[in-house]
Subunit: 197 residues, 4 copies
DNA sequence: GATGAATGAGAATTCATTCAT
DNA sequence: TATGAATGAATTCTCATTCAT
């Protein structure tokens, strides 16, 4: 079944190229023609690979979520202390800032449109975020889910800040503060626990 | 003598009522007819008060920004320790969670649409955010802008998390952690400074 | 009934001021609001004096026709030879060029819109044009209706030419040629007639 | 392979079929839906071939001007005397009376709407009229531009008269008079020249 | 598979007209 | 009388989708 492989491969390629387009104009604002033009194909071809605009969008969201963890995982190697890891995480975020902002736009757009009719979207999200929390715990070597959520929250917050005011925020600096806080927090918790008994 | 209507006042009323509508469907997805229906007026009347959908939206964003600070300022009274204040802040956020999430949707939508052509939008944002930072500093009684940004970031992050997964996040808990971290961080900084000389 | 006089007088004033507005934008293109603004009144007032846009327009056309002949008649005094009269006529046309062009626009507009539903418009025109032909005959001192029509035709043609290309046509020159032609034509006709018997 | 349609050719066909529609209702009065219905296509198709109502109209005007001279040129063959030619011209006008009246409506409409913002329209007109004058000179075998303008003016005038009062004017008769006048005028001019030296 | 012409419901916007004040 | 706010049908234009080639 060589044809099917081609088809599937090409579908993925198209999906990849859609990313920027959806991110920059938003789901409701971009037209299928604009997408087709952006991909260098005809609308007919677009419909050959995706049954509708909505389906195309949903497949894109799925694809993004699938790739998100792979990318983070690839970035985890060879770090030792917590501060080191946090800062590595910050550098990664900073390096791919544009990508993550776009991803954020797409995801928010998706939430807004799916919240109402169906919330199967949320199912996808829950899994993804669950995996992210797990990854953060493993990555940073602790088990406190609240703390992992704290870090995730901070990352999301930084992305939003970037959306608000592109140039005003230093991700590196923010991650330095985050690292120091976490270190202090964990040390203190540890001391606290030791003192307790 | 004309029908007696305070044009400016009525415009504001309409604007207020638009808030939910834009937040729930998004700028591009909601139609002027839906808005008119939602406001209980005809499309003609809508256009009598706002020259275009775009203008209506921009005026809404302006109005939101204008009101944002007033609301925060009203919430600052009668708290003592840092931890107390932070947690009061958290309660405030939690109480108005829906409002802030909607505001976030609207603002992100606005960024996405305005980023490209003009960025006069960003000017509005910068001022608003600058004032927020200032307010955080005053509220918490310190001068460290990086730290204020850290808190703001965290708040934004919480809102995004709420958007991702409505029920999974406990704002109160997150703010408890934030408060403890800040306290530790500031104490430590203080010690550090004392040690230095 | 002093009020009625005022009313009637004011209606005429408004009508006069409408002339330019209708001429410049055309019946279908101008809006009642634009007219009201142009007249310095509210739309409500406009509708107080005229039952509808169509009625306003028809009253304007009537008023124009009523005034047209008065103006020509006033211009007929103190000329002797045919050539002289023709040229005086040309000067008159040239002096009021803008006015006549506007009148032409309005009339054509009227024809186009009335041709289809009703042609009561044409009745008005027929009377007016009939009177014009009569006036030309009297003015130039002959009885040949075909020739009078020839002259009228030429005047209309000049107005159209002016519409096509504002600056390229010299009305004065054209009337000089017209005068000479008519003189020759009439002389020749006369000779011809004399020879015949 | 796409549906096989000669885009350019079809565009011209649509344009041709628009002629009557615009002429009969006027630019501002006819709606795109009426045009689409008149052409037997959907509004979507209309917009597939023309970006806007204005553009459609402008392309129509261009097309008309392009075709106008071709038609006159085709009519010039096999005439001898001036009187003959003039009368042939008159017959041609009479035969295509409806067409020319419609063209006149369209052109006037165009002037009225374009006069104000841009006058690129006038550029098109100037060229067209210039060519017409040239054609008249060649057709009638003389060089006097003023006289050519005189004839053009008369033709335009006849069209306007027809617009005013459809049935009252005999184009043939008017052209007979015109021919005689021109002949006399030219003979006289000739004599005059001979006498001079 | 690929194309882009065709569709028509639906979007933003306009405008003659009405009517409370 | 005069005003201009309110209306909603009608207008221009868009766009997801279909389909003949």
């Amino acid at each position: 079944m060589p044809k099917i492989v081609d088809h599937e491969l090409y579908r993925r390629e198209l999906l990849d190229k859609c990313f920027d387009l959806f991110a920059e104009k938003g789901y409701a604002s971009i037209t299928m023609r604009q997408i087709a033009d952006g991909l260098g194909v005809s609308t007919g071809t677009l419909y050959h690979y995706f049954p509708s605009k909505k389906a195309l969008y949903e497949q894109l969201v799925e694809e993004i979520n699938r790739q998100a963890l792979l990318k983070v995982a690839a970035e985890l190697e060879g770090t030792q202390t917590l501060q080191e890891r946090i800062e590595a995480c910050g550098r990664f975020l900073q390096k791919n800032e544009d990508y993550f902002i776009k991803q954020t736009f797409i995801m928010i757009d998706f939430c807004q449109s799916s919240d109402h009719h169906e919330n199967k979207g949320n199912a996808v999200f829950k899994v993804t975020i669950e995996r992210c929390l797990q990854a953060v715990c493993e990555l940073l070597g602790f088990e406190d889910r609240g703390l992992a959520a704290f870090i995730m929250t901070h990352i999301d917050g930084l992305l939003l800040q970037k959306i608000w005011m592109k140039e005003e925020i230093s991700i590196a600096e923010q991650f330095k503060i985050l690292g120091r806080m976490l270190t202090l927090y964990l040390e203190n918790k540890y001391l606290h626990h030791e003192e307790k008994p």
